[in-house]
């Protein structure tokens, strides 16, 4: 059994950005860091109706004659467990935001005049949902806006921290429910309808620069590092790899919200077509091995277990010998790592523990 450090295993490396924009991420990260880079979120809900069915078993609808109230169902996907006293400020945003909207366009709306409420996040709630009620007059221009509602979310905290809201891509999204009165042949009946966001996204208040020449992983829109490897055939083709570790060395402290941890994962690709190479899904039982974690502000070396990936190259010689390093969840965090590269120095290293073939037969 041998253990080999392949210092020159990575023959080509590059970074591509834009794989997952913030509006496609499974979570939305709110960051409160006065004086630093902050992040706010938007949710534009699917338009509410002007009439609602009178009976769940009938298609007959009655016009909505009054709004009674709104209920906001907010999913917490992740937070810094040690920070308490978090609040989420809810703001009324212009209805017409879309995927092209930039932070500068919505930033003016995060002020007191648009504030609808400031919600206390239960300190005991690390993952889960909590409810808030908004008054009937929270959206005076509802009909004028085509019954579209867009809300802004901003994190308020006693010290710099972050909180992640579930996004519609994760089926764990913010839900806005409208409680109404509907006219039913002259009688007003209570009906309600809930709406998921048609668009939810988040913005960082500033870009975080990475050292030139570094391999960047994470951030929004998400960046991936592509590593093309040349592993000696005697190891990967003729022998059995029992452990393979990809060693990544940050060249600068990992950027991101205070207290956050960046999770990186090494994935294979099924065909090498450059930046759009399709990733091979990581087997569920390998995810725990395949990821590496590094705290924001740290320059600790990352070690990703890629044993299954390297072994798959022997089983399927046509599979490109490329490892793509990406963040998990991708696009769901401002956190990003700047890693050493062949251009900058400190390029990724592959450490392989392998057993050459034994001679089975007469001896």
């Amino acid at each position: 059994m041998f253990d080999t450090l392949l210092l020159d295993a990575v023959v080509q490396d590059s970074t591509f950005t834009g794989f997952l924009p913030a509006y496609s991420a499974s979570v939305m990260q709110l960051v409160s860091e006065p004086g630093g880079v902050e992040a706010v979120a938007l949710a534009r809900f699917v338009a509410f109706s002007d009439s609602l069915p009178l009976s769940p078993v009938d298609t007959l609808k009655g016009p909505i004659v009054a709004t009674d109230s709104f209920r906001l169902d907010i999913p917490i996907a992740r937070r810094a467990a040690t920070i308490q006293g978090l609040q989420i400020a809810i703001h009324r945003m212009p209805a017409g935001v879309d995927t092209l909207t930039a932070y500068d366009a919505v930033a003016p709306f995060f002020h007191d005049s648009t504030a609808l409420d400031t919600l206390d996040v239960p300190d005991t709630l690390s993952v889960g949902r909590f409810l808030a009620v908004l008054p009937r007059d929270a959206f005076p221009n509802l009909d004028a806006d085509g019954r579209l509602i867009t809300l802004g979310f901003r994190l308020l905290a006693p010290e710099p921290t972050y909180l992640e809201l579930g996004a519609v891509e994760s089926t764990n999204a913010v839900i806005l429910t409208r409680f109404t009165k509907v006219d039913s042949a002259g009688t007003q009946v209570f009906r309600n309808e809930g709406r998921l966001p048609g668009l939810d996204t988040y913005f960082a208040t500033a870009d975080v620069p990475a050292p030139p020449g570094a391999l960047v992983v994470g951030g929004i829109p998400s960046a991936r590092a592509f590593l093309r490897l040349a592993v000696p055939s005697a190891i990967v083709d003729s022998s059995t790899v029992v452990r393979a570790t990809l060693i990544l060395v940050p060249v600068a402290p990992v950027v991101g919200p205070p207290g956050d941890t960046l999770i990186l994962l090494g994935a294979g690709i099924s065909a090498d077509v450059g930046a759009k190479s399709p990733l091979v899904e990581v087997p569920a039982d390998s995810v725990a091995f395949r990821v590496g974690r590094v705290a924001v502000g740290s320059t600790d070396t990352l070690r990703l277990d890629v044993t299954d990936l390297v072994r798959s190259w022997r089983a399927n010689p046509t599979r490109p010998r490329v490892i793509v390093v990406r963040a998990v969840p991708e696009g769901g965090s401002l956190s990003a790592a700047a890693l050493g590269s062949s251009l900058l120095g400190g390029a990724p290293i592959l450490q392989v523990t392998w057993i050459p073939p034994v001679t089975l037969g007469d001896r």
Binding site: M1, T240, V242, T307, I355, L360, G361, R363
Partner: protein, 372 residues
Amino acid sequence: MTRLVLLLVLLAPALQAQNSVLGVRGLGFPGRWSSALSRGVAGADQLTDPLSAINPGAVVLFPAATAGITISGGYRDYDLGTAAVDGLRETRFPVIVAGGRLSQRFGFGVALSTYAERTWDLTVTDTVMVRGTPVEVTDRLRSLGSIANMTGALAYRPIPQIGIGVGLHAITGSTRLDARRTFADSAFREYRQSAVTTHSGFGVGLGAVVIPVPDIRIGLAFRKDGTLATDVDGVVQTDVSLPTMFAVGINAIAMPGLRLAAAAIRRTWSSTAPVFASDTDTRDTWEFSGGLGLDGAVGPPLPLRFGVRYAQLPYVPAGQPTARELDVAAGTSFRFGAGRGVVDLAVERVLRDGGGVQERVWQITMGMTVRP
């Protein structure tokens, strides 16, 4: 992995499909070609026993068309250093024979027997340093299969006192080998490698039975096997020069109802040495056996047989004394179907030692012979 076979340490084999721990090396554990009848006298009369597959000249002694099958079960335990392993068992069909007479002067026989048994299962636990950290590893090396010996024999009896025969041997068989290493640290994945080895070779044998007086039979056998070609997964790997065998045996009626027998066999296993690893010593072997049979005319109504056998084993760790086995046997027979069917039973207590191993075996062998 080499060390695994070399040291034979900390063995904890699976509890079935095992043969002798002394059969891990070389071609395996040599097969015995004696019938259950002959096993009762520890093989002492196998040179004059047509149901045994060692002497092609003995097929002239078939009284009529005969078919016989032998099944043998072993129950073993062994000690190696401080390790004690028990509860091992095996079941084999060491000899299957059919033969008869073509005429008053010609006899024939065909036999299928085990040339070398190659079934074993070794597990070794050790700690190795990997990435600067001690990691517990468990190596398991398994072999399943054997080398078989198919014999066709034709014998001629020019005069009633002498029978001479020639045998042609086809040696064939396959072995499935699995090597596996698992790690206590789940960060390391399992290592596994498998291969199927197939063996093929030919040999010729000459044999004679001399009956100088009616109560004495002397058997002589010579066998020269060629090379055993071994393929691993279809790729030719080695050619093993197989041993030559010389054997002589005598079977005499000392007095009515009392038969005495003795045999000596020499095999030149050292011819196989060049292809095996340097950590294995290969030795030529001697085998001696002696026994007596009470056929019912004296003593109890059932025939009884007793015998003692001493045999050397060909493969041993380098520098170790020759491995050996001592075999004490007893047997009897039951007839049925108006004497056309015979069931032979033999019980043997076998003690083996070599390479630091002391092995004890209870071997129970049953043979069924039918003469239509």
